[in-house]
Amino acid sequence: MLVAGVDLGSATGKAVVMKNNRIVSAAVMPATTHPEKTARAVLKTALEKAGIELAEEVKYVVGTGYGRYNVSFVNENISEITCHAKGASWMHPGARTIVDVGGQDCKVISLDEGGRVVEFTMNDKCAAGTGKFFEAMARTLHCSLEEFSELSLKSTAPANITKQCSVFAESEVVTLINSGAEAADIAAGLTDSIARRLQAYVYKVGLLEDVVLTGGCAKNEGLVKALESKLNIKIARLPHSPQLCGALGAALFAEEHFLKNVFA
């Protein structure tokens, strides 16, 4: 029996297809202007990858992420906080703190031993400390997000960047560029400023190990390392792409809730 989780984030759409508690296939694509369109396309891609032709074979779909309210074919929607908790605990059962850095927000979720959400905190309207910030900064440094991450790891003397606001940090970066600073040091400085912000959120809910990083920005190894050094701990690496964590959690709920309905 196939089920799926679809995570409609601000920057990307993610789908995970599961069967008997195992991942069959997954896909990621840039978000379109309509959550419905993104959801259909990303799920179709995931199914095609697995060689599944009929969408009807998927018996239950759970939606999560910002677009979750506006998708016609999902059976239910669950908040991304609950889904990330579910997905992270499945990938790494000892996880007690999840740092999720997505396209337009970052969250820190505290879990109990059973993987249940105890507390969470989240940024407000501002995009500081999110994927949008990294996108804007990579643009200013004329590089891709992958290059940005690699650059930051090369730095030996990170620039001191105090601003976490996407708009003001950009002008700080322009000043640094014009004063002859190395791109690697600027990238490392920016990453460090975001790690500081995340550190504050982690301290707000309380640091409990194991800590995992999820969301698209978790692919940025420079950020993972910077946060490790701020928190003075080792961040547990996940066996699957951290970007899929929300969709994975949604798929796990899809399986649970489908079975509950069948045997109810």
Partner: protein, 386 residues
């Protein structure tokens, strides 16, 4: 209960959505005078006794704060900005007077700017002693005496002891009816949602009192035959200041959390106690604001009572969790949220703290927070059952 089933409920919901409702327009057309209560702690009964209508000032429907920016600092809250902007645009020009007290620095500045720029014909300011005690009651009584003579002089009316007593009885009657409405919320499937209840209470501050009391009786009647819906994820108590926007409650309810109780300025805190109907009426009114009614964080030395009050609401209304709310830039409620969150943790009550602006927008992240909070409560309930 669907609004189509109760005329009274519909009138309340509509009144809470606008500044001027039809009943208020009628009252004005017939020559009635309206006095604006600029925020909290002002005994409306004195205005009623003067034969005028007390109106709790709001800025519902405000679309911006452009006209305020030149008059407030960047650390002033959005409430005073929207109030002042509405004042400048003449949205509150139906007011014949404004009365205020030193609620906080934000409201204080609002009053000054209002006097300077909006210039409502009658304006009066009282000093509110922000501490609960005998001396403070006496001091505030003196201020109320001053307000009484000022109204008498400015509007050519006589506010007798008998009229004050009569007004107190009338306002107590409102509070008694509102408490009946709150009693209904203790049921497993209450006839009214929290959004509708808050609208009904906000309506009480802008519809002429005789009509309002009659409508409330009608609403209670309509509720008797009704049963509310099931299928809520959790029962919630809301804690906050002078929240006058039912939409805030609606966001929680749209995510599946039924708001059954509250510790809000427009809500239970305004109705749980009556004003003493015996003895000196002005002393009774002063005592009511300073001592008798549940305190607001503006009154010094009441932290423990306020924390206990919220827990009591959770018990009385069989709630599963608390959502607290604070306007950005409000220090009082910022501290209150910290106090409360510790107290609730000690008592094993789930809590979610939210920050809002006076005009509620950008609800996406708020919805996510509320949904995740309700999901964690539902999950815990499910685990406890198994």
């Amino acid at each position: 209960m669907s609004e189509s089933k109760s005329e009274a409920l519909r009138e309340f919901v509509e009144a809470a959505k606008t500044l001027v409702n039809p009943a208020l327009s009628d009252y004005k057309k017939k020559g009635g005078k309206v006095i604006g209560m600029m925020y909290h702690f002002i005994p409306e009964e004195i205005v009623t006794a003067a034969g005028m209508m007390p109106y709790r000032m709001r800025a519902t429907g405000s679309e911006g704060t452009e006209l305020s920016e030149g008059y407030f600092t960047q650390v002033n809250c959005s409430l005073v900005r929207h109030f002042f902007d509405s004042g400048m645009r003449g949205r509150l020009s139906f007011l014949d007077g404004v009365v205020s007290v030193n609620n906080c620095d934000h409201i204080r500045r609002l009053y000054d700017n209002w006097q300077w720029k909006v210039k409502t014909p009658y304006m009066h300011f009282m000093v509110f002693p922000k501490k609960t005690g005998k001396e403070q009651v006496e001091a505030y009584r003196e201020q109320l005496e001053g307000f009484r003579s000022s109204l008498e002089k400015s509007f050519g009316v006589k506010i007798t002891e008998e009229k004050l007593r009569e007004a107190i009885r009338l306002h107590n009657e409102t509070r008694r009816l509102q408490r009946e409405l709150y009693e209904l919320r203790k049921a497993d499937a209450p006839p009214l949602t929290g959004t509708q209840t808050l609208a009904a209470l906000v309506a009480g501050t802008c519809i002429p009192r005789d009509r309002y009391n009659a409508l409330l009786k009608q609403l209670l009647q309509d509720c008797r035959a009704e049963k509310g819906g099931n299928g809520w994820k959790a029962r919630i108590v809301v804690m906050g200041g002078e929240i006058d926007e039912p939409k805030f409650v609606e966001i929680i309810e749209n995510q599946g959390g039924l708001v059954v109780g509250d510790a809000l300025g427009y809500g239970s805190r305004a109705i749980v106690n009556d004003v003493d109907e015996t003895g000196d009426p002005l002393a009774a009114l002063a005592r009511y604001q300073l001592v008798d009614r549940p305190a607001d964080p503006r009154i010094f030395g009441t932290t423990f009572d306020r924390n206990d009050y919220v827990v009591q609401q959770v018990r009385d209304y069989k709630a599963d969790g608390v959502v607290s709310v604070r306007l950005i830039a409000c220090d009082l409620y910022g501290f209150e949220q910290v106090n409360l969150s510790k107290h609730l943790k000690k008592n094993g009550i789930p809590h979610l703290g939210l920050e809002i602006e006076y005009v509620i927008d950008a609800v996406g992240q708020m919805k996510t927070r509320v949904q995740a909070f309700l999901e964690s409560i539902a999950e815990a309930k499910h685990d406890n059952r198994n």
